[in-house]
């Protein structure tokens, strides 16, 4: 149970960063922290106490295996997360070239 609570706290840390930070790069880092907490959660729900890696061994049929599906999901989600992070960094670099700053308070063309 403690692992799930830590995972939730990690999510909140990321959320706090996104809300309070003023620097674009720090917002992107906070987004990554939130993302990682989600991946961690997926890895946790597949875990079974005392389970081994899910490689079926016909000689030993009573072995307990951990659930392999969440691991596959996490791998997919990590790849997607890489794409979103790269996209966000590309936009941040472009923003820096246009505005000459990473400060979000000075980037406010759009209003209303």
């Amino acid at each position: 149970m403690i692992a799930y609570i830590m995972c939730f706290i990690l999510f909140l840390v990321g959320l706090y960063g996104v809300i309070t930070r003023r620097n674009l790069i720090k917002i992107a880092v906070s987004m990554s922290i939130m993302e990682i907490s989600t991946f961690l959660f997926f890895a946790l729900i597949g875990y079974i106490d005392g389970g081994v890696a899910p490689i079926v061994d016909p000689a030993d049929p009573v072995k307990v295996y951990v659930d392999p599906l969440p691991q596959a999901l996490v791998l997919t989600a990590i790849v997607i997360g890489l794409a979103t992070t790269a996209m966000m960094m590309a936009i941040i670099i472009r923003l820096y070239r246009k505005y000459g700053t990473f400060d979000i308070r000075e980037i406010k063309n759009l209003r209303g």
């Binding site: 959320l15 996104v18 989600t38 969440p70 996209m87 472009r94 759009l110």
Partner: protein
């Protein structure tokens, strides 16, 4: 059994990669290829619409058959409801791609634009056709990442800022959705929507269930820009190139937002009264607040973007009324009417909001501004744009005999029959305010005399743009035929049946 299901995803994805590879060597190839791909997809989607009917066809990716009636592969499902959405995606997509042939000359790197456009279409088709929860997430991310890039396509200050805001909120939505999927998988040990429904109907923990529903609703609500989650929409939709605004506003928020909410809350979760009331409240809030935010806008595309929020409110509201009636177990005919009204309005909104954004793009293309105060007297110099935008404005405001009138009428009648008199009154009032707002748009852009009216330089837009606008305006008029019982039975009734009949979706998919 429909053999065409995988083509909706494979063809646009293959097209995107082909454009990236060949676009450097073959000039002019990419734009025609995109239009051809989308024309083909539009044709096969209409073919599927007329052949599917009440049937439900399943395609198992990789050919993994179920073991002991437990589905293990990824399922792609085609039924009466999602063929309609697929038709919307591909036909509006085709017209936008055609419109882009002339419009996109203002930007550089046309082949990247078309590659991203194909990815957007492929992702949306995947979300809509998927019968597997995690697969929905994967395709959602494909389409969302390409929409981030397309919003920022102009790489000017406001485009980049809009894209950044959109990415932060879109990323947050993705994490909420992913958490929701994790929680569902934790309890049910399956990701197939039909199988989850079966697992949930065998009994569940009420609080846990509510928590999952809230996570899923807020995640997809952020994608659909229902009112407390709407902050990114006006910026993103007004900054994108106009053909992309038409796609995002006309199709994207429906395919990845409203469609998934309706699908999951009817066919995956057991319909509960509390959740139904929450969804109806959110819909009413979007409908009312969206229109009040829209009325003060002077930037055409921002005005249209706020109206998207308001019109999506109508869809969510009427589907919510249907959910309330189903959860109380009474008046299933009125519930079916309310849901039919919602789906009908969803189809209509794709046509007229797509058209309005294409009109806004045509105005911007010709006179180079989006500010209503700097326009005027365009009716004489741009007759096609003027006439088509008049049709679209009247459709969105619900003036007979255009399509918006009939769908709003069905929604209001359903609300009155369900004894939600306040909601019916609000729907009428919002419709009147919408009319006022679009009369303002018409007057300032096309009829009021101003400096722009005396300028002889202003010409009508090139043929591909004009053609797309004319076709969409014809569609706007023709869609009112859906209200005739014979046509409605073919198109709307199967979609309503798959949603209202709580067990049919599950039993057919698990039984196969």
């Amino acid at each position: 059994m429909n053999p065409l299901i995988p083509f909706f995803v494979v063809i646009p994805l293959a097209g995107a990669f082909l454009i990236m590879i060949t676009g450097r060597f073959l000039k002019e190839f990419d734009k025609y290829l995109t239009s051809l791909i989308l024309l083909f997809l539009a044709i096969i989607s209409f073919y599927s619409l007329f052949t599917t009917g009440e049937n439900l066809s399943v395609y198992k990716v990789g050919g993994w058959e179920p073991i002991n009636n437990v589905p293990i592969g990824i399922y792609m499902v085609m039924d009466g409801f999602n063929t309609i959405v697929v038709c919307i995606i591909n036909s509006i997509g085709f017209l936008s791609a055609l419109y882009s042939i002339s419009y996109i000359k203002r930007y550089t790197a046309g082949n990247y634009f078309y590659a991203l456009f194909c990815l957007l279409i492929g992702g949306m088709n995947g979300v809509v056709l998927s019968g597997d929860l995690f697969n929905i997430f994967v395709f959602l991310e494909i389409s969302v990442i390409s929409s981030y890039a397309l919003v920022a396509f102009g790489v000017e200050k406001s485009e980049l800022e809009a894209s950044f805001k959109y990415q932060v909120l879109g990323g947050l939505a993705s994490f909420l959705i992913l958490f929701g999927i994790g929680f569902i998988y934790w309890k049910t040990k399956t990701l197939n929507i039909a199988d989850i429904k079966e697992a949930f109907s065998n009994g569940y923990d009420k609080k846990y269930y509510l928590f999952v529903q809230i996570l899923i609703l807020s995640g997809f609500g952020l994608k659909a820009a229902i009112i407390p989650f709407h902050a990114w929409l006006p910026d993103a939709h007004s900054s994108a190139p106009s053909s992309i605004s038409a796609m995002l506003s006309g199709v994207f928020i429906k395919a990845v937002g409203i469609y998934v909410i309706i699908r999951l809350f009817f066919n995956m979760f057991v319909v509960s009264e509390g959740m139904a009331i929450l969804i109806t409240t959110l819909g009413t809030l979007s409908m009312v607040i969206g229109v009040f935010l829209a009325i003060g806008q002077w930037d055409i595309k921002r005005l249209l973007a706020y109206h998207s929020i308001s019109q999506m409110g109508y869809v969510v509201l009427s589907v919510g009324i249907g959910m309330i009636l189903i959860s109380r177990g009474l008046n299933s005919e009125v519930a079916a009417l309310a849901i039919a009204g919602g789906i009908f309005h969803l189809i209509n909104h794709a046509a007229f909001k797509g058209l309005l954004f294409l009109n806004a793009g045509a105005i911007e293309y010709t006179i180079g501004t989006r500010n209503l105060k700097e326009m005027g007297g365009l009716a004489r110099s741009m007759p096609v744009t003027s006439a088509t935008s008049f049709i679209a404005s009247m459709s969105i405001s619900g003036v007979p005999p255009f399509n918006g009138f009939f769908s709003k009428l069905i929604i209001i009648i359903a609300a009155i029959m369900a004894k939600f008199y306040l909601l019916a009154a609000l729907a009428v009032i919002v419709s009147i305010i919408t009319l006022a707002s679009f009369l303002k748009f018409q007057r300032y852009a096309f009829y009021d005399k101003s400096i722009a009216g005396n300028n002889q330089q202003i010409k009508e837009v090139p043929f591909p743009m004009a053609f797309s606008m004319i076709v969409l305006s014809i569609i706007c008029v023709l869609l009112s035929l859906l209200v005739i019982p014979g046509v409605r039975d073919v198109i709307l009734t199967p979609a309503v049946n798959i949603l209202t009949d709580q067990l049919r979706y599950t039993t057919i998919i698990i039984g196969q």
